[in-house]
Symmetry: D3
Subunit: 259 residues, 6 copies
C-alpha cells in the first residue's frame, strides 16, 4: 500500500491493523560515469514499492534528498546540511506519530545518510529522555544492502569491483526499474581507487569520475531484478519482526525522580 496513492480514510483504516510504516530514504547525487543521479533514493523506493505489491505494508513517500555534501563537486548533486536533514526527519516522524504510527522504519539507500539519520533518531528520542518518559514510538534504520541475503548475493554477482560508491549492484537495481535510462560510458581504470571522504573539492580530486572502488559496467537489469526480489523479501520479514517488538516492563519506577 502506497501512502501517496491512498486517501486519508484508507490510512485511518490501515492504522487499525498496523502501526508500522516504511520510509524509503536516499540521496540525489552523482553516481559515476553511468550511474543515475537518483540512484540512492530510487533503489529503496523500488524495493519498498515492489514489496508492498505482495504484503500488507505501508510505504511513505520517498525522502529523496539526503546528506551528500561531498558530491557537490559533480553537477546534479543536491544535498541537505546535516542540521537541515535532522530537522526534516524530526518533522516526518512527528507527523506520523501524530497519526498513531509507533514503528517507523527507514529503508536507506545512501551510506552518507547513516550518521545524520542516527543523529536525528537521538534528537527525537532526547525529548522523551529529558522527561524520562516513554517516547511512544520506535525508529529503525536499515540499508537495503544489509537486508537478509542481499550482501551475499551482490558478492556473488560481483566478486570484484563492487566498491562502495556507484556500485554495480545499485546501478543494476535502477537498470531493472528504468530500462530506458540505462547509460554507457568509457571509464578507466576499470576499478576506481578508494580513500577518505571529506569536502567536495577533495572528493573530486581523489575520485575524478565519481566512482569509489567500483566497476559499474558489470551491472545488468537481470542482476537488478534478483537483488530487488531478495531485498523485498528481507524487507517484509524485517517489518514483521519490528511490528511485533515490544519494550520490556519498565523498572524506572524505582528511580529518584519518579512519582
Amino acid at each position: 500500500m502506497r501512502l501517496a496513492l491512498s486517501t486519508w480514510s484508507e490510512i485511518e483504516t490501515f492504522l487499525q491493523r498496523s502501526r508500522t510504516i516504511v520510509i524509503p530514504i536516499g540521496s540525489n547525487e552523482q553516481h559515476g560515469p553511468i550511474g543515475l543521479l537518483g540512484t540512492d533514493w530510487m533503489c529503496p523506493q523500488i524495493i519498498a514499492e515492489y514489496a508492498q505489491e505482495s504484503a500488507d505494508i505501508l510505504v511513505a513517500p520517498t525522502f529523496n534528498i539526503g546528506m551528500a555534501q561531498h558530491h557537490l563537486g559533480f553537477p546534479g548533486t543536491i544535498t541537505l546540511r546535516p542540521s537541515t536533514f535532522i530537522a526534516a526527519i524530526e518533522d516526518w516522524v512527528r507527523s506520523l506519530v501524530a497519526h498513531g504510527f509507533e514503528k517507523i522504519y527507514f529503508l536507506n539507500g545512501h551510506g552518507g545518510n547513516i550518521a545524520s539519520i542516527e543523529a536525528a533518531f537521538s534528537q527525537l528520542y532526547a525529548d522523551a529522555s529529558f522527561a524520562r518518559q516513554p517516547a511512544g514510538f520506535a525508529l529503525k534504520l536499515t540499508n537495503w544492502w544489509d537486508l537478509e541475503g542481499v550482501g551475499a548475493l551482490a558478492n556473488q554477482q560481483f566478486p570484484t569491483g563492487h566498491g562502495i560508491h556507484a556500485t554495480p549492484s545499485e546501478i543494476a537495481v535502477t537498470q531493472w526499474a528504468y530500462p530506458d535510462a540505462i547509460k554507457s560510458a568509457a571509464y578507466s581504470p576499470q576499478i576506481a581507487n578508494s580513500g577518505p571522504i571529506r569536502e567536495a573539492h577533495d572528493f573530486r580530486s581523489r575520485f575524478p569520475d565519481g566512482r569509489m572502488g567500483s566497476d559499474p559496467g558489470q551491472a545488468s537489469p537481470e542482476k537488478g531484478r534478483e537483488l530487488v526480489l531478495l531485498a523485498a523479501q528481507g524487507l517484509i520479514k524485517e517489518l514483521q519482526a519490528f511490528s511485533r517488538e515490544t519494550t520490556p516492563l519498565s523498572h524506572l519506577g524505582s528511580s529518584t525522580n519518579n512519582c
Copy 2:
C-alpha cells in the same frame, strides 16, 4: 530531461546550453474523501515531466513534503515546520547554484507552501543583500493552476464546486496519471463549506471530511489530461521567458558603502 535519470556528465553538458532548472514542489496531505494524499506533489511532477518530453528543459526531483500543519488532523499527512521548510529550500538552492544554475523555478502544487517558499527566497537573497552584492541567481515561484490558461480551463470544466482544497481539477490531474488509483466515496454536502485555516484540530472541526469548498466528484481523467497539456505548454513558455531575463545595469556604484 529528468535530473534523477541523468548522469552527472549529462548535467554538466546541459549547463553549457542552459542555466535554468524547474523543481516540482508540493505537499503530502489529506485531499478529502477521494483525493490522494500525494495529490499536491504529484500534480506539478506530472506536469513538469510531461513538459520535458517535448522541450529541452531540466526537471529536478520533486520536493514532496511541504507545509501542511493544518492537515495533521487527518491520517497520512506529513508536514515540515516552516523553519525546516525554509532551511531545506536554502540547501536545494545552494546545491544547484554551486553547479552554475542561475534561474531556479519552483512549480508549486500546494497553496499552503506559498508563504514558506517566499520566506525561503527572502532568506536566500538576504545574504547577498547584507553584502550589497548580486546574488548570482534568480528564484521564481509559480503555482501550476496559475500557468497561462489553466485557471480559465478549470473554471470552464468546473463552473461550480471547484473550491480551494481537494479541488476537482487537481484530482483530475492525478486520475489521468494514476488511473489505477481512482477512488470513489460518498460525501455530503456536495459542495464543502469554507472558512479560515488555523491549527489541525480547528481545521478538522470546520472541514470534517477534509474538503474546502469543493465537489471533487466532478473530476475525470480526461479533464485531467486537458489540464496537464495546457499547463505543460504554459510551463515551457514561462521557463523560456525566465531564462531570457536579465538584471538591468546596476546603479549601486553611486552609494555610500561601495568602492
Copy 3:
C-alpha cells in the same frame, strides 16, 4: 487603550472584558525620494492608535522592523531575516497567550512581511497540530489597505500612479500624522516602473530611486486623514467580528489517535 501606556493591572482588568489585541506591524525601509523610512510601521500604528481613541480595543507596541532585505541597497533600511522574524512573532504571541489573549490580530503595513507573518502563524500552530490539540488562540493578519473601503478610497484619491511601493496613500497617512516631516524632492519618471523583487542589489538596479510604480507627489495630509478615518472604522469592525468568532464543535474525537 494603548498597552505601553497602561499598567499591568489595567491589562488584567481589560482581559476580563476582552481577549483580543491588535499589533501594528510594519517595516523600516526606504520609501522613495519623499517617503519616510518609518512609513510602513507608522501607518498601522497611526491607524490603530486613532481607532483606540473611540473604541475599547487594546493596541500593543508596534513591531517596527520587518522583512525588508530587498531594500538594503538604500541607506536607513533595517531588516530581519525571515528566520529571525518568525522567531520574534512566536515570542510575541506566546507572551500574549500566556496572559490569556486568545485573538491576536496583526495590522500590517508592509507587503514584504506577509509571507513571513503567515509562515510564523503556521510555525505557531504546528505545535498544537503535532499534538492534535486545540491551540487555544487564533491569529489574523490584515493589511491596513485591505480594511473595508480603504482600497476603493485610495483608487479614487489616486486613480493613476498609486503603484505598490512608496505609494501616495501610505505617504499621505504619515503626512497627516507627522506634518513637520513632509518632504519634497524632484524625481523622474513621474510614475516609477515595476518588476520582480529579488536581492537588494538587483532591486536598486531596477528601481533607482526606490519607488515601484508610484507617483508619491500626489500625497497630501488631508488625503491621509481621510484614509486614517476610514481605516480606523474598518479596523474596529474587523476586531469586533474576530472577537466573536468561535471554533465549530470538534469532530476529532472519532479519529485513530484520540482517546
Copy 4:
C-alpha cells in the same frame, strides 16, 4: 535626526558626515502598580529623541521588546527569548553595517537586556574573530542611568526607595513625556522587598505587585525633566567620544596564520 522620519537620501547624506548611530533599546514589561508597561523602551527613546533636537546625531527606531521572561507573570509583558533577541540584534547591526555605519551605540533602558545584548555583540564579533579579520564596526552598550551624572542625580532625588525595578527615576521620565498617562495606586509596603530573579512564577511570588526595592510614588514629571536633560547631555558626549575612537595599529601581522 530621527531615522524613521528621514528619507533614504537624507541618511545617505548623513553618512558622509558621520558613521555613528544610536539605537534606543528596552523592554515592554510590568512596572509595578503605577509604572507603564512601556517604561523601559520609552525612557531611552525619550532621552535620545530629546538629545537629537540639539545635536547632529542619528536616532534609529526603538528596539521595544527585550528580554523580560521573568515578568511574564504580570499581564501585558512581552518578551523575546535570549536566542531570538540575539538573532534580532544581529540583523539590526548587519543592516546598519551594510549602509556604512561603523559605530553602533545601544542606549538601554532595561537591566534584564544587558546579558543578551552583550552575548549578541560577541555573536556578531565572532565571525570576524574566526576569520582573524577586523570586524569593520564597533558596538557599545550604555544604560541611560549610567550616563554621566544621572546616577548621582537620581540618588539625590530619591535618597531612599529608588530600588532596582519600577524605580521612581524611570517612572518620572515617562511622566514628563506622557503627562496624560500618569497613574496612581495604593501599594504596600512603601518600599518593596528584593531578591533573586528567576522564572516568572517565582518572580511574582517574591514581588507580588511587581516592584523590586522601590517606592515609585516619589516620581514627578519635574524630576523626570531633570533626568532627561542631564541624560541627553551625557549621551551626546558619549556619542562624540565613541565616534572619535580608533583601533590601535594592528600587531596581528606577526602571527602564524597571517599572510
Copy 5:
C-alpha cells in the same frame, strides 16, 4: 564527591540527601606571556575539587570551553559562539534536572562567560515563564573571585597590577595546582594597558601580549594556595545557603490566566 569518579548508584544515593550540584565553568584561552591556556577552567575546578574533600558537595565535570571569541587572535584559544554556549548550558541543566537536581550552581572562572551564562539561564527559565508554571529548579552563577573574602585577599596580595585578564591571582591558583607547569617570560610594560573588548583582531592590536591591566609575574604557588583555601570555604558556605533557599508562597493564583 566528584560526579565523574562516581557510579550512577552513588549519585542516586546522593540525591536522597541533597538536590544541589556545582559545575565548574571557564574558558580555554590565552592568558598572556606566562598564564596557561586552561587557566579559566582550571581555577574553578581546582577550588571545587578542593572543597569537596572536606564537605559533602557534588562537583560535576568541568565546562571547559567558554565564550572567548575576543581571544582568537592568540593561538590555542578555543571558543563557543554565544548561541552554542547557551544551547550547551540548556542541555547540561536539563540533564541534571531530569535526575532530580533542583539547585544548579555554576562556579565561573571567566568574565567573558557571564553574559552568555545569564542569557542561558533566562533561556531555560523562559519555557516555564511562558507556561506560567514553576520551573522546578533554580540556577546560580558565582565567579570564584567574588566568593566571600577572595577579592579582599587578592587586593592585599597584589595591591597594584592585578588587572582584569591574566591576573596574578588566577595564575597563582594554577601554579599551586600545577607546579610543573609554571612558566616565565620577559614582558613589558610591567602593567599592561586596558581598553574595550571587541573582535579578536582589535583585541590583539590593543593588548599585544594578551594581558589586560595585569602584572602576572607577582603570582606564586603559595599565594595560590591561600586563594584556593579561602575560596573553597566561601564555596561551601554559598552552596549551603543556596540549598536551603525556598520560593515564597505563590500569589499567581489570583491572576487572570490561572485556574
Copy 6:
C-alpha cells in the same frame, strides 16, 4: 604537550613544526554498577596524555559531554542533543583552524558519539563544498578501541563478557589511572543482555543496571595499563600518518562552475 598547560606563545611555536592536534572526546554517563560516570571521556584523555609524554604531539582539552540521551534514565548522566553537539564541534574546529591547525583528530571514547561527530564533520565540510573550494583542513575520528592492536588485546584479556557498554576494558583503563576510585558491587546476571538503543526509559527497562552485554568485574588496573600503553603507541602512529597526508592534485578546474 598539553594545550591547556601551555602558553599561547608555546602553541605559536608548536604550529611552526606541526599543524596537527588531537582532541580527546567522550561522554559523561552511567557505566553500570562499578564503572565511573566519567569513563568515556577519561579513557581517551588518559591515552592521549600518556602518549604526549613520549611524543611531540599536542593534546587539546577534553570534550567531556557527548551524546548520551539514552542513558538519562540513570542519575549522573549529562548529554548534549545532537544539534548542540554538532554546533559545539563546529566551534572547536573553527577556533583551531583560525590558528592554522590543518589536521584535527578526535580520539573518541563513546560509541554513541560517532554519528553526531560524523554529522558535525559533514556540517563543517559543507560550507566549502557549497563554495566548491578546498576546506583547508581535514578531520579524522578514531575510537580508542580501534587503534592498532587494541581490539585484539581486549579480546585476549576478556574472551567472554566484553560486551558493548560498561565493558571491562574501558573500566580497566580508568582503574589504572584512578586507583582510588575503583568500585565494587554485586550484579547479576554475570553477563548483561543486549538489545536496541532507543530513548532513556526504554533503555533502563532493557538494561536495568546499565550494562550492555558486559561483565565489568573482570577489569583490573594492570589490564588497563596494558591497554593504555598499546593505545598510546597506536595513537602516535596514526597522528604521524595523518600529519603526512596530502590531497591529490585537483581536477575540479575542468568543471562548469570554475573560473
